[in-house]
Amino acid sequence: MTVRSGALRRFFDSKIAVASALVILGFAVMAVFAPLLSPYGPLEQDLANNYGGPSPKHPLGTDELGRDTLSRLVHGSRVSLGIAVASVLIGVLVGAVLGLVAAYYRGLVDSIIMRTMDVLLALPGILLGIAIVVVLGNGVMNTVIAVAVFSVPTFARLVRGSALAILELDYIVASRAVGASAARILFGHVVPNSLTPLVVQSTLQLGSAILIASGLSFLGLGVQPPNPEWGAMLSKGRELVRSTPVAAFAPGMAITLVVLSFSLLGDGLRDAFDPKLKRR
């Protein structure tokens, strides 16, 4: 308990960590209450007022179909954050299971799993994402899977590493000797002890997930228009920049802000949980 409350105190002592947590909380609130917060529907067209500049009715202007940029941005937070969270969750679950299995059984199983992870890690994220979209097709669910596959190897390596270290500890060796089952050892001892690095890495991974998902959607290979995913909002970017710069500015700024906040939050969590690692 003292360790946890110490970590909590260290976390709240860091202004940057708290600020980034607040930014993310703000976006999360925006995502949950999107219909209440946005003045228009995300798909509501007003062709007479397309490519409109900022005005009291449309603070961030309108796009090529006269849709309100602010409303799309607010609704887009649901899609962008949703994809990031879902893909990282899948990545953590699949990665953790693979890492645990590899560490527990060692030998051939370990080699096969980890060499496969090496191949996935050997490819740049965006390329891996494109490869998966080629196989599965585009759309929200397939974008989630594409980004999840990109996250799996990172978590598999992380969990395998900490599991190997924990499995060496005397009390684990002892409980194995008295015949504790694999499930009991892995989920009773190994998983709880690997949680901290998992939480930190997941937070950092959320930022990368948003960058890759929105990149795919920008290319027209991920989430498809008219869905207001932030990257997809920029898929007509060049025309938008010429006509309504603010409508091109806003989605990218939102992505940057969220990605930045996730990496600051991840750093803050790591420093709070493990002060030994604290960077200068």
């Binding site: 390329l127 960058l211 290979l221 060049r238 500015f249 992505i255």
Partner: protein, 308 residues
């Protein structure tokens, strides 16, 4: 050293093999008949059958993979469905543009990263440090395609200093290179700063200062030279990432490079072209990363000792 090199090269071939299997399996994992996919949906049944025989799609999977691999090693990456030309020919045609942008981006990111990183470390915990760290983190968090759009907005559309799209003159390369360099510049800057801080805290740097060496000499000769070792490895890794990053940047600036070739191939479902470009870019990525590791071992003897 020999064992270290052998192991790394072995790992490289393993990664290349894995990549080729992944790329090969891609069209077999797509639901539907691969021959129909390759022929295109408009193709008649005779054409589909002909393609099935030509590509050996009626053969067992491992025989298909073997011929895919040996063909690729001989430089035969298949023929584009949409353009009806050899895939490799088109890649080689477009490669100079993409390489120029990727190499230019790497050089710019490295220069920017090292200069700002050293600046931050030397002025540790002061205003310059904070400024560089905020800027570097912001750069690392910005999606490249959006940075490109914003640079286009400012420098082409508003100021009219630089051309916005296409790639006809040297001036056309400026914005894409800056765009591509953004994220990596931020990452290298953070790396350089922490490497410099590590080195500046070492005894031999304190000793050099104690001997009365001028601060400039201490920083340039004693600290920077050693701090650059870990930075090199990051630069190598970044090059591979930047090469893949051209996929996004070439789309922003409508540049007919290899990155755009891949995206168009996906949009047109030109499967041989998808496989070829993917194999090519991923292959270069893996080889460059290995070369970086080997170089790292040459520069820093501790690595190869640990690797033995």
């Amino acid at each position: 050293m020999l064992r270290y090199v052998t192991r790394r090269i072995l790992e490289m071939f393993l990664a290349l093999l894995g990549t080729s299997i992944l790329v090969f399996l891609m069209i077999h994992l797509i639901p539907g008949d691969p021959a129909l996919l390759v022929a295109g949906l408009e193709a008649g049944p005779e054409v589909v059958e002909q393609i099935r025989r030509e590509l050996g799609l009626d053969q067992p999977l491992y025989i298909q993979y073997w011929s895919f691999l040996t063909d690729a090693l001989r430089g035969d990456l298949g023929t584009s469905i949409r353009m009806n030309i050899p895939v490799l020919e088109e890649i080689v045609d477009r490669l100079p543009i993409t390489l120029t942008i990727a190499v230019g981006g790497t050089i710019l990111a490295t220069l920017f990263g090292i200069v700002t990183g050293v600046l931050a470390a030397v002025h540790h915990n002061r205003f310059q440090d904070a400024l560089v760290m905020v800027g570097a983190l912001l750069a690392a968090s910005t999606p490249s395609y959006w940075l490109g759009l914003m640079l286009m907005l400012v420098f082409s559309l508003s100021l009219g200093w630089l051309p916005s799209i296409g790639i006809r003159t040297p001036a056309h390369y400026v914005l894409p290179i800056v765009t591509l360099a953004g994220q990596s510049g931020g990452i290298i800057s953070r790396m350089t700063r922490s490497a410099m801080l590590d080195v500046l805290g070492q005894d031999y740097v304190r000793a050099a200062r104690a001997r009365g060496q001028r601060e400039r000499v201490v920083i340039a000769r004693h600290a920077l030279e050693n701090a650059l070792i870990p930075v090199i490895s990051i630069v190598g890794l970044r090059f591979g990432n930047l090469l893949a990053g051209t996929v996004l940047v070439e789309s922003v600036f409508a540049i007919p490079g290899v990155g755009r070739l891949l995206v168009d191939a996906v949009l047109w479902r030109d499967y041989p072209m998808i496989q070829g470009t993917m194999l090519f870019v991923a292959g270069v990525f893996v080889v460059v990363n290995t070369a970086t590791d080997l170089l790292y071992g040459v520069v820093d003897p501790r690595i190869r000792v640990a690797g033995d």
